[in-house]
């Protein structure tokens, strides 16, 4: 039953996606070019990376509003470690990712040790981590990264944008973990009934801790890729990013109440959202107009999900 209903949602998404692509191709002959498609893939990589662990987070019934701030903090610290402290760039990159992980671990500890609801815990750290980024950087940006560093965000490997490889690799790993392993099963059980999961001897706290830490780590990685793509570091990087991420996940069929969702769905949601953005851009809508659409899509996706699950209840 559950598998069938997942498939149903994903089939609808796939249909929507095909329609969107056809409409886009009709509207502009520039859309269906290899260059444009690869470029779109490059643009969606950061949101896509963050959406993978966010799928786990939302499947447990939680939410992580702080990913954008962790992203910004890691980006700033990359600049500080390399430019400010004079560390070798590879080490600075590793440390930036690590900082993301620590920030995520902080979320996890607040949530599991003190039983603070994830919404509130990550709302607080959203402010805290962004504040640290602002305080540390003092609104100064860092530029002048060496040429090799840009391979990550602007280069290609085997004909595909470098970051797309990261996205694919982590997506496959995430899909396997969520769909086929004990860890994934525990994740679903927590989201569907946390108490029963605990009473079945599953390690709820450790699972959540790992998920939030993973969310932070990936945010750190995405930040490094982003810095490489835009060649600079600023403290307001990733502001509002959580919106895109959550929208992609929810659009992909993950229930905001937990217990349901797949990585495939998230990827479809992500691509659909990027197609929308790109279509709007080609249609002459400016960047700010697209976030209106994302907001509407987020609400509409949940509305639709509510209606579908109500029908499927009987």
């Amino acid at each position: 039953m559950t598998i069938r209903s997942f498939l149903r949602h994903e089939t609808i998404l796939l249909l929507l996606l095909v329609i969107a692509l056809i409409v886009l191709a009709q509207q502009s002959d520039r859309f269906f070019t290899t260059d444009n498609l690869l470029n779109q893939a490059r643009l969606m990589a950061e949101v896509g990376l963050l959406a993978l662990p966010m799928t786990f987070v939302i499947v447990t019934g939680g939410i992580d509003l702080s990913v954008g701030s962790i992203f910004g903090l890691a980006a700033i610290l990359l600049g500080v470690f390399w430019h400010g402290l004079g560390l070798p760039l590879p080490l600075a990159m590793a440390l930036a990712v690590l900082v993301g992980g620590i920030a995520g671990l902080g979320n996890g500890l607040i949530i599991t040790r003190f039983n603070v609801p994830p919404l509130i815990a990550t709302l607080a750290t959203l402010a805290l981590y962004r504040g640290l980024a602002e305080g540390i950087s003092q609104a100064r940006s860092v530029r002048g990264y060496p040429e090799w560093f840009f391979v990550l965000g602007q280069g290609e490997v085997l004909g595909l944008p470098t970051q797309l490889w990261f996205l694919l690799a982590i997506a496959i790993a995430a899909a396997i973990v969520l769909g086929l392993t004990t860890f994934g099963r525990t994740t679903y059980a927590i989201g569907a009934n946390e108490v029963a999961a605990r009473f079945s001897g599953l390690n709820v706290a450790r699972t959540k801790l790992l998920i939030y830490t993973g969310s932070g780590l990936v945010a750190g990685l995405a930040a490094v890729i982003f810095v490489s793509r835009v060649s600079t570091t600023r403290s307001d990087m990733g502001t509002g990013l959580e919106l895109d991420v959550i929208t992609a996940v929810v659009l992909g069929g993950t229930s905001i109440f937990g217990g349901r969702g797949t990585i495939i769905g998230t990827l479809l949601g992500l691509i659909l959202m990027q197609a929308l953005k790109s279509g709007l851009a080609l249609g002459g809508v400016k960047g700010d107009g697209t976030i209106v659409v994302i907001g509407v899509v987020l609400i509409a996706a949940i509305l639709l999900g509510n209606l579908l699950s109500r029908n499927g209840d009987g």
């Binding site: 939410i63 607040i110 003190f114 039983n115 603070v116 609801p117 919404l119 509130i120 815990a121 709302l123 607080a124 750290t125 959203l126 402010a127 805290l128 981590y129 962004r130 504040g131 640290l132 602002e134 305080g135 950087s137 003092q138 609104a139 403290s235 509002g240 959580e242 919106l243 959550i246 929810v250 905001i256 109440f257 809508v285 400016k286 700010d288 107009g289 697209t290 976030i291 209106v292 659409v293 994302i294 907001g295 509407v296 987020l298 609400i299 949940i302 509305l303 509510n306």
Partner: protein
């Protein structure tokens, strides 16, 4: 107050505990504000200068006003992360109307009406369609923000008529926003205590199941709470729009977080069911003062948000500890 406590000797400790329980957060924040003013005033006397005090109290009154509505929303067990964008939109509406020569009273009232209408829709989605308020308002945040920027293309609104500048009026030498802040806070506090609906909000946030069995119409009440919140956002928007000669047509950065922080740190439990609007106003003043103090003590103001984050976190952790005791 303290006399009351002193007279009933036998239960003095219990009553004192009750008093601190009921008013502790407000008292602590008030003490923090006073301490801050004394310390920073000694370090840099200009901090206590007339112009700085005006800018702290008057310049941030709109945040305190918005925090009142936010407090109600949070007490009812919901949240609104879109209030900053809403204020930006409403301020731009007010300014646009003013520049186009509409009667001033229309320019002042239109934002209130639009704020109520928009939030009625938000409340409807939350209460009747049962979408969590965080999701609805996250969506609204981007709808409003994106809509505002694409509609105005980021252009500033200049040449506002002088009679429109409500926030610049100074009856009896005191800036108008301070009147608004004080009056609205007191009115809201009284209303929360003495109206049936005020108590209903606490009941819904405190124990929704019990509220339903008690016969409270939860859905309707939540829509009302959001509408009231929209009304306060409208007032905040007018104060915000009229305090400078231009309206920037953007959302004041991080306004929603500042407003939520004020409400939460002011003693509104983020899990709903408890809190007062006096606390949220005091907290709004405290943050304004901290922001100003950072400048006057030559600490970078870029640390302000980190301080806010720490405050929220500390308050939430204290609240969790308190709740554990209560159940």
């Amino acid at each position: 107050m303290s006399f009351d406590v002193m007279q009933s000797r036998p239960s003095f400790p219990r009553r004192l505990l009750g008093f601190v329980e009921a008013n502790g957060q407000e008292a602590i924040i008030l003490a923090a504000i006073i301490l801050l003013f004394v310390v920073v005033g000694v370090v840099n006397p200009r901090f206590l200068g007339n112009s700085n005090l005006t800018s702290i109290f008057s310049g941030n009154a709109y945040i305190a006003v918005a925090a009142i509505g936010m407090a109600l929303v949070i007490i009812s067990g919901n949240i609104d992360v879109s209030v900053g964008s809403l204020i930006g939109v409403l301020a731009t509406i007010a300014g646009t109307l003013a520049v186009n020569g509409y009667p001033i009273i229309v320019c002042w009232l239109a934002p209130l009406a639009v704020g109520v209408a928009i939030n009625a829709f938000v409340g409807f989605l939350v209460a009747y369609v049962r979408i969590p308020s965080i999701v609805v308002t996250l969506g609204m945040l981007s709808v409003l923000k994106g809509g505002l920027i694409s509609a105005t293309a980021g252009a500033w609104i200049n040449n506002l008529p002088p009679e429109f500048m409500l926030a610049q009026f100074r009856p009896f030498g005191v800036p108008a926003p301070i009147y608004f802040m004080v009056t609205l806070t007191l009115l809201a506090a009284l209303w929360m205590r003495y109206s049936g609906f005020g108590r209903t909000i606490y009941a819904i946030g405190g124990n929704p199941d019990a509220a339903r069995v008690t016969g409270i119409r939860i859905e309707r009440s939540i829509v009302c709470v959001f509408m009231i919140h929209g009304f306060f956002a409208g007032i905040a928007a007018v104060l915000f729009a009229t305090q400078l000669q231009v309206i920037q047509s953007t959302v004041p950065p991080n306004l929603e977080l500042t407003v939520i922080t004020a409400a939460v740190v002011g003693g509104v439990s983020i899990l709903g069911g408890t809190g007062t609007v006096i606390g949220s106003t005091l907290a709004a003043i405290l943050f304004a003062a901290i922001g100003s103090a950072l400048i006057f003590t030559n600490v970078s103001a870029y640390w302000l948000r980190a301080v806010q984050g720490l405050f929220i976190l500390a308050t939430v952790l204290a609240d969790m500890a308190r709740r554990r005791r209560l159940r």
